[in-house]
Each structure stands twice: as C-alpha cells, then as structure tokens.
Amino acid sequence: MQEAKDLKGYKQEVQDALDNSFLRTAMDNFAVAYRTGRANAFAGLDVENLIAQIAASKDSAIGQMDALFDEFKANAEKTGTRVHLARTAQEANEIIAQIAKDNQVNKIVKSKSMTAEETLLNHHLEAQQFEVVETDLGEWIIQLRNEGPSHMVMPAIHLSRYQVADLFSEVTGRKQDSEIERLVKVARRELRRQYLEADMGISGANFAIAATGTIGLTTNEGNARLVTTLPRVHVALVGLEKLMPTLNDALKVNRVLPRNATGQGITSYVTWITGPNACASAPEGQKIFHIVFLDNGRRELARDPVFKEVLRCVRCGACANVCPVYRMVGGHQYGHIYIGAIGLILTYFFHGREKARNLVQNCINCEACKSICAAGIDLPRMIKEVHTRIQDAEGHPVKSVLLSKVMKNRKFFHSLLRSAQKVQKPVTGGTPYLRHLPQIFAKEHNFRALPAIANKAFRDTWDHIKPHVATPRYRIALFAGCALDFVYPEQLEAAVKLLADCDVAVDFPMEQSCCGLPVEMMGEKDAAVAVAYQNLTAIHPEPYDYILTLCASCGSHLKKAYPRLLEDDASVQKELNEFADKIIPFSQFVNDVLKVEASDFMPSKLKATFHAPCHLCRGLGVTEPPHDLIRKAGYEFVPAAEEQTCCGFGGTYSSKFPQISAQILEKKLEDIQKTGAATLITECPGCILQLRGGAVKHGLDIDVKHLSEALADKHKKPSS
C-alpha cells in the first residue's frame, strides 16, 4: 500500500524495506529459485509462441469486451446465475453487500481475489458488520495482520515462520511452534469450521467464458473449492478483462499461467463452474449464484490505443519475480495493491495518480519483466508512458524540463559538457574520478566512485584519429552516445582501432546527439522525440552497412524505441526502418559479421567474467557473441551467477534511488567476486560506470573493461 506523501517519504519507506534483512534474504532466494523453476516448467515447450497466442487471444477479447459481457450475461442468466456490472469499485462493493443483506448473511468466507483487493471489499463488508474470513493461507495471514499482499500469488512472502507462529498463537490462544508443516495444519483446522459456518462464499475468477457463461478458478490449496461449495450463496467478483470467447482461450492461458507464476505445469485445482450448482444448505437445494463484473476503468482502458495491452495481464506475478527493484524492496514498496511492473501501471489506472506518482519513478528499465510476461506486455514502455502522463497532468519538474530543453539543443548540450570538464578539477583532484562529490549529490550517492568527464571528448579527437582503410570490407557509422563520447572515449578509440585492423571503414557523423533514453526515462517524451529526429537526420543509413554502437542502452533505444517514438510520422518511415535495421551492437558485429577467430588474438592466461547489460541481452537479444569473443580473445571465461541480472545503474535511476542502486550493485559484485576472475568485461558504458565505481569503492582488485578494450588489447596487428 502506498501511504507516502511525497518522493522523500517514499524513499524513507524504501530504506526501511532495504534494512529488513529477512525480506532481503527471502527475496534473493526466491529470485534465483523462480528462474530455475520456470525454466524447468517450460522445458520442451515453445514459450514465445505460447505467449504470442495468449497476447493475440487477449487482444481480440479486449477488442470485444462489451459484446463478450453481453454474451456471457445472456448465457449465464439462462442457467439462473445472476450477473451484475459494477462501474466502480464502490459500486461492486455495494452490490455484494446488498446480496449479503438480501440473503440474511452473517459470515462470509473468501478465496483469494486480487480484484477484491482492488476494490477493498473486505473493508466495505466489515464496516457493514459482516464477518469476513479469508481462507487462502497467505491471505488469511495478512488479513489477521491488517496488511495488503506483498505479492500477487504469494501474498505473505514478506513474513517469516516466526511471525506467522506468533500470529497463530494469538489467534488460537495457544502457543504455536514455528515449524511450517504444523502451522499449515493449524490453519487447516482453524479454517475448516469457517466454511461450514459461512452463509456466503466470495471468490474471484481467472477465466470468464462467454460461450457457456462459465467461470474458471485456479488454486493450489483447494480453499476456493470449499468456498464455492459449502455456503448457500456464492458471489464471484470478476474483472471485465477476464472475459474470453471460449474454453479454448482459457486453456491456452492455463497452459502458461501456472508455469510462469510458480513453475508448476498446472495448479492443483482448476475449477469450472457453470450455473447455480447443487447445494444442500441452500433453500431449494441449489446455490444462489451471482457474478459481479468490475469495470473500474477497464472499459475505457480497452479503448486506449496505447494502454489497452495492459488488460492482457493474467496476474501471474512473474513481472515482480524477476524485477531487481522488487527483489530489493518487496511488494509493499513496489505497488499499491497490484504489485510488480504491472502494479506500477495498474495503480495509476485503478487507484489514481496520487498513489502511482512515486512508484512509476522506481523502475530501472531493465526489461526483465517484459522478457518474462505471460501476456507479452511491453511493461517498461507502459511505465514510462504512465510517468509521462502523470507529468503532463501535474506539470513537469524543473529539473527534467531543463534537461529536456538542453537535450533538444545538441550544441548547447555538448558545450555544457565541455565546460563541466573544465570546472571539475576541484572535485577530481586530477584523478579520473570525482573525489569530492559536488554539493548537489547527497551522501547516499557515495556508494560508488563517479568518473570524471574526459579531458577530450571522442568527437573532439575524431579528426586526428580517424583511420584510413584502403579497401574496406564494410562501411559503418559509429553511434557513440554521451557516456562513451564524453566520459569513456578510450573505449571508442579501442573499437575504432580494432575495426580498422579488420578493414572496416568507420564514419562518425558529427551531428549525432544523445540517444534520448535518459529524457524518456524522466517522462519527457517530447524531448525524446525531438532527439530521435536529430539522430535520424544526423545519420543517413543509406551509405552504411551498419550503424554500430558500443552502448547497449543506446543501441536498444535506437533500434526498438525509435520506430515507436516516430511511428506517427509517415514521411520518415522508410528511412527509420532502414536506420533501425542497421543498428548493431559491437559484439554482434565483430563476432557474427566480421567473424574474428581465436587465431587473430594473442593467448593469455587471464580469467575473465562477463556482465550482460540489460539492453544487450534482453533489449537487443544478444547473449552469446560476447562470450564467444571473450574466449576467442584468449581469456579463460568464467560465467558469473545471474549474469543477466541488472547491475543497478539504470541511467538517471541510480541518482534518483541511490540506496536501491547500491544494494543491487552489491549483490552483483558478490557474484562477480565468486568467479575469481580478475577481469570483468561488459558492453555498456553505464554498466562500466556502475561496476567500476563499485569495485573502486569496495577496493576490489577487479579490472572492469569494455569488450572493445578487452579485444583491442589482445588483437594481433594484421600481418599485411
């Protein structure tokens, strides 16, 4: 739940979560175990294809939401089911309370429903003097603690067995042992009688099948079966996005949902309910069955061209499972009621700007969620769009307006960087690092050494170093990006040298600017579009075989985000497509296009490990070429655990949430150290800044290098 008043308050809550060592260990273990479990569950299946099928089937259902509702209602009513449509959360709660009153209900048992969490149904019913008992073990625990869920599938993941034992001791009035098996048994017996005493059961639904008016429920514990069986009244509260035309659509989702959620092939129980079933405690021996569909903004969302894909979500929770920020701070700080990447977005639509404002800034843009989403939702993009919408509505912060102004004017931006170089002396003490952090940085930024701006930017040396290649094999344009251009020009120089040795003609179009990702991350979409135009104008793709980049973040932004940012301008589409197609990251070009060989390099005995930049492995889908190149260059390659997990940089993210960034980095450095490698290679200047800064700060004897330097160091001069 988000109670923080402002970003400062939110950061304080985040800090408390970071200091919770049980939570940190639980989350770390979970993050690692989840990935293995998921991989096993999908073994032998074509995951991408299954996800694409869900996306297509969901998109089609979203497009006909109203018609599906009508169809469902007609079919369900034929069976005697009563179907309601609630426009708002409040209305849904009132309908359900009314059903309870009409049926002289006292006690209500509930099975797990995120939709009921969304409407805060329990509060409403309790305020009206109904006794409500959650029966899902995790939900029961958090209900007893008066908390919201910290995960959509495992709502009590933030609690230890000891906390549960204390809680159960209170509930039963007897001292409880902390052995989990036994705690589960206690819950089994304590809850068993509740089903019998209850007059009404409330469930959610995972599927609402229009063709037959059937709802489908997936559970592991079996509580939903008892909730829908023993009491004489059953009310299902269902989001409109759960509507689908046929059973086939539901079966498709059900093939992925449990695998993606918990690494199970299927949940223990999947229950399909059509019509009011036999029920011995009901007046006519037949259940009183109501289904309440919840709109609460969904119908409007279904018509929104940008955001409608959000409704594809099947609530598997995976986007939280893989999120490096969720892992650090837990669900109470990474969502309001809905949690994880999707939670950041849904909070805005279901619970308002106020609750979402701080949350959407806490995304590091690592794309881990997108790569795992059961419904193929472009979550990081949606998060950025929400951020932009909030700023459009509330006014953009001065800092980001200034930055976006500066970015729109390349010459001014670059001259600012040059003058910053001149005045940084006092804080570098002549070293390549900022020794004393300038006032604008608080102490909390001190978790890594920050690099100084280079004496001479790459663009300012280009005329002197530009090699001449007589008979080029390829012609490429080099896209530098700000960090390499102004902070790490030596990494570009290393690349240029290697490329020239391999007979590649390199051009450096001078009018190129920042790729624009940082401004988009700050919710400044206008500036991101303006910069995209500048770069497209600066680099005409036509004369080049490729446009090469050494910065994975720039690369994936140029290749994946530009087509979307400029999609409305028909006049640039042809050029834009060619531009995007020709973008290639350094490793892929050198390994797969130039096809360098081990014999081109001098052997060495050095052990090296690799950090896979988010925007390289997920953004651009390049995973093997860097490994191949490290081996070819003569290093002994030792893979690090969780190689593809974010390093915590995230551009402006690390200055906005330094405390989270620092924790992610720490975990990363531990994994690196465990490899015993003295050289850490990566392919993105942001990661280098973060990792090198961290290694320096911790006094680790690890040499952090860009792949270009690692290769150029070992490359043999061509004999000719």
Partner: protein, 209 residues
C-alpha cells in the same frame, strides 16, 4: 504422443512428479480393496485427523471431536460396487458414507471416486463434480483415491475440450481438474501438502477396455 503406453507412462510420471501415488488396477473391485486396504493398514485412517493433534482454538478442537470413526466416502458408486464396498468395510469396522457429506466436514479418511478423464501432459484428473457429495468427497477427505480408466487418458487438455464444453452446456455444472494433493507454499515458500484439501492423492490406473 504416439502409443497409449507412452501416454500412460507420461501421465504416471507427471502425476508422480506432483506427489501423487500411482498404481495399476485390473478392476474396480480391486480399486475398492485398495482403498479399504490403505484405510485399514496405513496411518491414513487414524481416528485423529490431520491437524487435530495441534494446539487449536476451542472452536476448531470441537470440530475435531465430531469425527468418531474411520470412514470412506464413495458417493457415486453403482449399487453392486456400493454393496461390495460396504461388505469390505464392515469387516474392518470402517464407516461408508454415500450421502450428506456435508455432515462430515470435520473430516473423512478416504474419498473414493472414478474420474472422467486423465490429462497426461500434467498428470491431471478431470472429474464432473456437479453432485455436491462428489465434490466434497474430493475436498474434505484426508486421502483421495481416484480411479482413472486408461482409455480416458488424453495427451493434453485440448483433447478433452469438446467433452468439457458438453459438460458446461448441461448447466448447472461443476467440473474439476485435480492434480496432486492440495498444496501451499505461502509460508516462506516452503511446500506443504494438504492445506485445505486431501493430504494425499492416490491414482489407480484402471485397465478398462
């Protein structure tokens, strides 16, 4: 998926992977003997039901006391099999419950069912549970013993899609997919079986013709 043997094997493997105990039977009579046997022999049929040995609130403890005898619930058997089960149980002093299962919510030792289909891909049982007693037999029992006719095992859920649609067309209907025992990982992600439903699922693969 190939030959039926492969399908049967896959079904068995997948069911065992989620902790089901799988055996073969040649007839339904043999299946009944199996159920009575484990009730008689194993700890499964203790007088004390699962959880009742724990420190409970007085309300929960009271419900525990309602169960006085070993019991097998088999609500949907035909007359002959019912008769057979009754005589097997009588000899061992076990109660047979065939209706009003609601009165036995405190706990039943064994729930016995013959399911409609098996799904090999996930080791899943498909059971039309529209009768409340059938439903409860698979929910409140400590051990669920389910017979699956081999001729009804299909590769994936998509191969029972039409049959399921037929069932859903005969409203009201309550159809259950059951895979393994009831489970939770809600406390520290540690797997525990039997949170609300059966602690054990025994599947008897029946060589029908």
């Amino acid at each position: 998926m190939g030959a039926p043997e492969n399908l049967n094997k896959l079904f068995k493997d997948k069911a065992e992977a989620v902790s089901a105990i799988v055996s073969e039977v040649a007839s339904l009579n043999e299946a009944l003997s199996y159920a009575v046997e484990i009730c008689d022999r194993k700890e499964a049929c203790q007088l004390l039901i699962s959880g009742c040995e724990e420190e409970l609130s007085s309300g929960a403890a009271e419900l525990c006391e309602q169960k006085q005898k070993k019991s097998i619930a088999a609500p949907a058997l035909d007359a002959d099999l019912s008769q057979e089960l009754a005589s097997l149980c009588h000899a061992k002093g076990i109660d047979v419950v065939t209706k009003d299962l609601r009165k036995h919510v405190a706990g039943i030792d064994i729930g016995f069912t013959v399911v409609d289909y098996g799904i090999a891909e996930t080791g899943t049982l498909v059971l039309d549970s529209s009768s409340e007693d059938t439903r409860l037999a698979t929910m409140i029992s400590e051990v669920h013993v389910a017979v699956v006719p081999k001729s009804k095992i299909r590769p994936t859920a998509f191969e029972v899609e039409n049959e399921l649609i037929d069932l859903m067309g005969q409203s009201p209907n309550y159809t259950a997919f059951i895979t393994g025992a009831s489970r939770t990982a809600d406390i520290e992600r540690v797997l525990a079986l039997g949170v609300h439903g059966p602690l054990e699922l025994h599947i008897l693969m029946w060589e029908d013709h």
